[in-house]
């Protein structure tokens, strides 16, 4: 597969609208950090070592018989805009995008699995899935890990487990994250309490559009922090329990909001939809906020004409990299805001009929 396949302006496969509690949980991500014995970590290795690792990993992946087909890309051969698009699709990390030394990525054709080579660790196996599917997604990652370990000399130690460059990943090397849309908890200011509770339980909350974008679009990424001293199953179970609790709280908060201020909400949702459909200048903050409102409107049954998968797609497309790709050139921030507005108008107005049809088709399959 060539790189263009992975750059097209569509929501990736893991952003589909199936999966458990898909109205609140957008997606699940599992990441395993692995290193090869006998090589220094990317922090201190030589170009030669980097090259060898890339070769060994790529060969191992070609040798195993996984149902997924992978394509290999060198980071240094990619223009920066393309790197940014892959970051925005969550297929590579911002750190990998900055690497020049033999860093590469192997992406499965359906974009649900990506293996980053020579990021902070030699390997970062990442699996993505729509909705809340911690178990299933981990099973997928673990299976690939199990196949790879037959061909690769993993750095492992009985005491410390899988050895990683940073001690925050050592042990299981497992980072499980769940991306959640929590507008009602945010509106009712309960999110602070949730964040504090999570910190006590050894979990972290982040925004989806990276660090510092805390609650843009009311979307939060919740993941485990602890990787040593707990087994994979315990980590997943703890996260699962926490997420189920948050879903319950969010649903409760939504019900209360709906009961107390229905007309205010209806007004807000429809105004947001109007802005998305007709505005000519759109910052990413405003777009994210409006999309969040419309999404909640759809979840509560107030807005009926917008399918969820269009909203998922828009959430990805409003990011700067995608907007510039859509325009076909690099843009200043103010120009981006105009193109972003145009892109949203196209997605939500004229294509509505067509997209509805496409959505129905998907359900028929």
């Amino acid at each position: 597969m060539n790189l263009e396949h992975f750059l097209k302006s569509e929501a990736p496969g893991w952003m589909d609208v199936k999966g458990l509690d898909a109205d609140i949980v957008l997606s699940t991500r599992i990441r395993l950090a692995r290193n090869l014995d006998g090589y220094r970590f990317p922090l201190s290795f030589t170009d030669g070592e980097a090259q060898q690792i890339d070769d060994v990993v790529t060969q191992a992946l070609m040798a195993i018989n996984n149902e997924h087909k992978f394509s290999h890309f060198m980071i240094k051969e990619m223009p920066s805009l393309q790197r940014q698009v892959l970051v925005e699709k969550h297929l590579i990390s911002p750190l990998l995008a900055k690497k020049e030394k033999s860093a590469s990525v192997l992406i499965s054709n359906d974009e649900t699995i990506s293996i980053m080579v020579n990021e902070e660790d030699h390997l970062r196996i990442q699996c993505l899935a729509p909705g809340l599917q911690l178990l299933e997604t981990y099973a997928e990652a673990s299976k690939l890990d199990h196949q790879l370990e037959k061909h690769l000399p993993y750095a492992f130690n009985d005491t410390f487990g899988y050895l990683t460059s940073c001690p925050t990943n050592v042990g299981t090397g497992l980072r499980a994250s769940v991306m959640m849309h929590l507008p009602a908890l945010t509106m009712s200011k309960q999110i602070k309490v949730v964040t504090q509770m999570l910190a006590r339980l050894g979990m972290v909350v982040r925004g989806i559009y990276g660090e510092g974008s805390e609650n843009l679009g009311n979307i939060y990424q919740i993941s485990n922090q602890v990787t040593l001293g707990k087994s994979e199953e315990e980590i997943l179970e703890d996260l699962q329990n926490v997420v189920v609790q948050i879903i319950k709280n969010e649903r409760g908060a939504r019900e209360a909001l709906f009961k107390n201020s229905r007309i205010v909400l209806e007004d807000r949702f429809n105004r947001s939809l109007g802005i998305l459909k007709y505005a000519r200048i759109m910052t990413s903050e405003e777009a994210a906020a409006c999309l969040s409102n419309v999404r909640l409107g759809v979840d509560l049954g107030i807005i009926k004409e917008v399918p969820l998968h269009v909203l998922n797609e828009c959430m990805i497309l409003i990011q700067p990299g995608f907007v510039q790709q859509y325009a076909g050139t690099t843009l200043q921030a103010s120009e981006r805001d105009m193109y972003r507005a145009k892109l949203l108008r196209e997605k939500l107005n004229t294509n509505n009929q067509k997209l509805m049809g496409k959505g129905e088709e998907r359900y028929d399959v």
Partner: protein, 183 residues
């Protein structure tokens, strides 16, 4: 009270330090306090970048206390990783280790760092070559979902019960297929 440093001027500034939970108070005059302010001190030390301080603070190792620092760095110089040349001090500066061998080299010092950021210091998850305990976990999940189902039925929450029943069926289907779901 006179300044503890120059012992001439009136002490007007109190400097409170907490190192490893040990609180100490010093009283200085304004002139001496400027020299003794922890931020001033840090500025004068070239190698001390904020991130280093951050990492060291995180791992609870004193940065400010010069005497202790010197003793530590000399004793740590002795242990240098044979594979990548990292010292424990370098690890604290970077926040990262240089190679897998480092874990072996610093196996005595690492646990004190790990207890601060992890749930334990001993790995209890899977190891290469061992089959995963995935099936057992699914079985446990089924069990707990069944309990929830009973509760739902008792409370006459039939919609929830139907959902739970479907979840159990789904999990049982997965179990039949060897724990790995391949859609």
């Amino acid at each position: 009270m006179n300044c503890e440093h120059c012992k001439e001027r009136q002490a007007t500034v109190t400097v409170t330090q907490v190192i490893n939970g040990q609180k100490s108070e010093k009283h200085y005059c304004e002139v001496c306090a400027q020299n003794f302010h922890p931020f001033n001190l840090d500025f004068h030390k070239e190698e001390q970048i904020p991130i280093h301080q951050l990492v060291s603070n995180l791992f609870g190792l004193p940065v400010w206390n010069n005497g202790v620092e010197k003793v530590q760095s000399t004793s740590q110089k002795a242990t240098q990783c044979p594979k990548c040349g990292f010292t424990f001090r370098k690890f604290l500066n970077e926040g990262k280790l240089g190679c897998p061998q480092c874990y072996e080299t610093f196996s005595t010092q690492l646990p004190q760092v790990l207890t601060k950021i992890q749930a334990g210091t001993k790995h209890s998850g899977k190891a290469p070559g061992t089959p995963s305990h995935h099936n057992e976990w699914i079985k446990k999940q089924i069990e707990s979902t069944r309990e929830q189902l009973q509760l739902a039925i008792a409370d006459e929450r039939f919609e929830d019960a139907a959902k739970l029943r479907d979840e159990i069926r789904e999990m049982e289907r997965k179990l039949d297929r060897g724990g790995v779901d391949t859609p």
